[in-house]
């Protein structure tokens, strides 16, 4: 039967990449020189083992051979034959990288860097040979030193099972049936050891057999039939033609004389005892590992399914349709009972959001390695503490926050944290700490990157801000206002600042990336104590709660979350300030007014400020008043990309289909505020 196993290759790749991540995380957690953490090594070993097993089955022999070396080394560590040295761990880490490349190349049918593979193979082999030549020898499955095949007309087989043979689930009858497929089989039963009924233990085997197999079956094929019962029986296999009628010769060195009774001989008994002890040892090991697991396990594997993103998108589209239909129906009449469809919608929405959610660990998992590598290069001692990596975020957001987080952590590594000497002088522990926390709070996801380093240099930032004209001399600025400067493009790209303050290049880009996924970023710092950057992200990007507003003939949507309040403007409240546009004195603060109809060129809109409404919105800590004709209802809208279907429009985050079938544009509040600032 031909079975195509190609269909499982994709699963193999997916689980192998996951396995590599597990190996990497495990290796990073190993403490070279310290007592080997058995459970940790076991976890790494199992991952390597699975990759090896799968790669062989799916035909990636290079991967199998390479993984075998890693696995042998890990096995040595696991059994205490090899010590866990920094060198071994680093070599294994590099091997993980190399293996990842090999798998990527295998998946994409691409070429790999053979020299690199070869170099690592040699280094692994060297490590193996240093402590243990025996296990390195296993590297190629030994094709058992088989004697040259004997041409025989058949085989005479003496088979005398030990009483316990059946306890392993083996059955002589099945074995004979298999032998019979190799040639003509004659079986002679020896029942001489059968005890009297009263003494007979029904589960033991008392019988023995003499078999003659006629035919050209090779010796290995015959031996193979008995491979599983080696050690559970007395067995001799002799060629028929070579020893026609010389029973003396049958008893060659491999065949022991048949036992006189059920006791199989002292040798076997002792062996059994030793094995018993070995098993006991293993048991202890396992118990310990289980104990460790309870206390040290930080990430619980949650059962998960893999769903193709196209399918998820299909569900999202359906939910979008449903939302649209729902608003159409509700437009039909107030008396229509919406509760059923509401419930359905809620359920679908929940399912759909959940399917798109991924734990942030998929991003966080790369950081232990990064911190390990970079801190080594910088000569700093740094510990990375991760919390809440099971917190879930929309896949799209996850994909976008990787780079900003890398940037923030690099900043902490490079500039925020001091060298051990500096820390000692400042009476701080020599090992610096970077924390990475993720948590869920009031409908948003927060990710915090903190360090206990030197903190931002307020004075230098203040000076720089004054020099650049971003701050005005003589005014009193809060810490927040000053730290905020690091996100300013003009300042953050200035080389000097990054030298003095320890932060800089590209922080404006970090903020823009976060804003692009609807998030915001905030900074807090204390001199000598450290810096903490907090990123606030939306749970999902697919659906938002919107406030519908009308401008002329058109309907626009303002994300409900960004709205502070809506006010009516009375005559004389607005000042026109040259260069800064129209300003409303709002709760003691100047509030810039943005006439949306002007921006979007809407016709027939209200132009008299006193006749319309001002919606006060906030993004990135700044407020602006959006001037609209009137407010309409509030509803959930499903976001369709305008960029994909039309083109990017400044100030517009996307579009949606309204209840009456019209298209409504969703306003991009941070974008509007940015444009407004740039215009001034």
């Amino acid at each position: 039967m031909a079975i195509d196993i190609g269909q499982f290759v994709q699963t193999f790749f997916e689980e192998s990449f996951e396995g590599l991540d597990v190996m990497e995380a495990g290796l990073l957690a190993l403490q070279p020189g310290a007592a080997a953490d058995l459970e940790q090594i076991n976890t790494i070993f199992r991952a390597a083992h699975s990759i090896k097993g799968g790669s062989g089955t799916f035909g990636f022999q290079d991967v199998t051979r390479f993984t075998h070396l890693m696995e042998t080394l890990l096995d040595g560590m696991r059994e205490g034959r090899m010590s866990v040295t920094g060198e071994a761990v680093n070599t294994l880490l590099e091997s993980v990288d190399c293996l990842r490349e090999m798998l990527v190349a295998a998946r994409e049918n691409a070429q790999i860097d053979d020299a690199r593979v070869q170099e690592l193979r040699e280094r692994l082999t060297q490590l193996l040979e240093r402590k243990d030549t025996a296990s390195a020898g296993e590297s190629e499955p030994a094709a058992a030193a088989a004697p040259p095949p004997v041409q025989a007309s058949g085989w005479r087989i003496a088979f005398r099972p030990h009483p316990q043979l059946m306890h392993s689930g083996n059955d002589p009858v099945r074995m004979f049936r298999e032998l019979a497929e190799l040639g003509e089989l004659a079986v002679r039963l020896d029942a001489s050891q059968l005890p009297r009924l009263a003494e007979l233990k029904p589960e033991d085997c008392y019988l023995a057999w003499e078999l003659e197999l006629l035919g050209a079956a090779p010796r290995e094929a015959v031996a193979d039939v008995f491979a599983w019962v080696e050690g559970d029986c007395e067995l001799s296999i002799e060629p028929l033609a070579e020893a026609p009628a010389a029973p003396a010769e049958v008893a060659d060195s491999t065949a022991k004389p048949p036992p006189a009774g059920p006791a199989a001989g002292p040798a076997t008994g002792e062996e059994g005892g030793q094995q018993g002890e070995l098993l006991l040892e293993r048991r202890k090991g396992e118990d310990r590992r289980r104990g460790d697991r309870r206390t040290s396990m930080t990430s619980v594997d949650s059962g998960s399914i893999r769903v193709g993103i196209d399918k998820v998108d299909a569900v999202i589209n359906l939910v979008g349709e449903l939302v649209t239909t729902q608003s159409m129906l509700s437009a039909l009449g107030e008396d229509f009972d919406m509760s059923r469809i509401d419930k359905l919608h809620e359920a679908l929405d929940q399912l759909d959001r959940n399917t798109r959610m991924l734990p942030v660990s998929s991003v966080f998992s790369r950081f232990p390695r990064m911190v390990h590598d970079i801190s080594g290069k910088l000569g700093k001692q740094i510990e990375l503490r991760i919390n809440g990596e099971q917190t879930e975020l929309d896949k799209t957001v996850i994909e976008k926050i990787g780079d900003p987080l890398v940037h923030l952590i690099r900043n902490s590594l490079d500039h925020g944290l001091e060298t051990p000497d500096e820390r000692a002088r400042a009476d701080k522990p020599e090992t610096g700490v970077i924390t990475l926390d993720a948590y869920h709070k009031s409908g948003s996801i927060f990710i915090e990157v903190g360090d206990d380093g030197r903190g931002l240099n307020r004075e230098a930032l203040l000076r720089k801000g004054l020099d650049n004209g971003l701050l005005r001399a003589g005014e009193d600025y809060s810490d927040e206002q000053i730290y905020e400067l690091i996100f300013h493009p003009g300042l953050s790209t200035a080389k000097q600042i990054s030298d003095v303050s320890g932060r800089g290049v590209g922080m404006d880009v970090v903020r823009r990336n976060i804003q692009d996924v609807g998030g915001s970023i905030q900074i807090a710092s204390r001199p000598g104590k450290g810096t903490r950057i907090t990123i606030c992200l939306p749970l999902t990007l697919a659906i938002l709660d919107g406030q519908l507003v009308s401008i002329g003939q058109d309907c626009y949507i303002i994300p409900l979350l960004s709205i502070i309040e809506s006010v009516q403007i009375r005559a004389g409240e607005v000042n026109r300030i040259p260069g800064r546009g129209e300003i409303l004195r709002f709760r003691g603060q100047p509030l810039p007014i943005l006439r949306l109809y002007e921006m979007f060129g809407a016709e027939g809109a209200v132009t008299d400020l006193e006749k319309g409404l001002l919606v006060v919105v906030e993004a990135d800590g700044r407020q602006v008043g959006l001037f609209v004709d009137d407010l309409q209802g509030q509803q959930q809208v499903s976001i369709k990309s305008l960029e994909k279907n039309f083109r990017r429009v400044a100030g517009v985050a996307g579009a949606t289909i309204l209840g009456d079938g019209r298209v409504g544009l969703i306003l991009d509040i941070s974008g509007l505020i940015r444009t407004n600032n740039a215009a001034i």
Binding site: F8, S50, G53, T57, G169, D171
Partner: protein, 120 residues
């Protein structure tokens, strides 16, 4: 047709074995570690158990020992999936009570041949 319990922590291996056995007309139950397998085994009988050795939570060796302690699994054929062709590793399974082994890598034909060997 036999009822076969397949235990492996690797999804691709599990799928491959399950698919192959089902194609051959067998009824297949799958578990991703020894603990899950033991639960399944206790819940319903199996004519054959095929298990990986290295698994989290409960490894294959422990599973075999546990199964052999159950009256209904005393003589049930149990095969280990092992990448080790060395005697030592194969024997580890045997000592725990395994019937035999299938050495990885294997192709579907080899798997079915081995399975047929132990199904009476």
């Amino acid at each position: 047709m036999a009822k076969i319990l397949v235990v492996d922590d690797s999804a691709s291996m599990r799928q491959m074995v399950e698919f192959t056995l089902k194609e051959a007309g067998h009824q297949v139950m799958v578990a991703e570690d020894g603990q899950a397998a033991l639960g399944l085994a206790k819940g319903s009988g199996a004519d054959l158990v095929i298990t990986d050795v290295n698994m989290p939570n409960m490894d294959g060796i422990t599973l075999i020992r546990e199964l052999r302690n159950l009256p209904t699994y005393k003589f049930t054929p149990i095969l280990t999936l092992t990448t080790e062709s060395t005697t030592e590793k194969k024997m580890e399974g045997k000592d725990a009570g395994a019937t035999g082994w299938i050495v990885k890598p294997f192709n579907p034909e080899k798997l079915l041949a081995t399975v047929n060997k132990v199904l009476g």
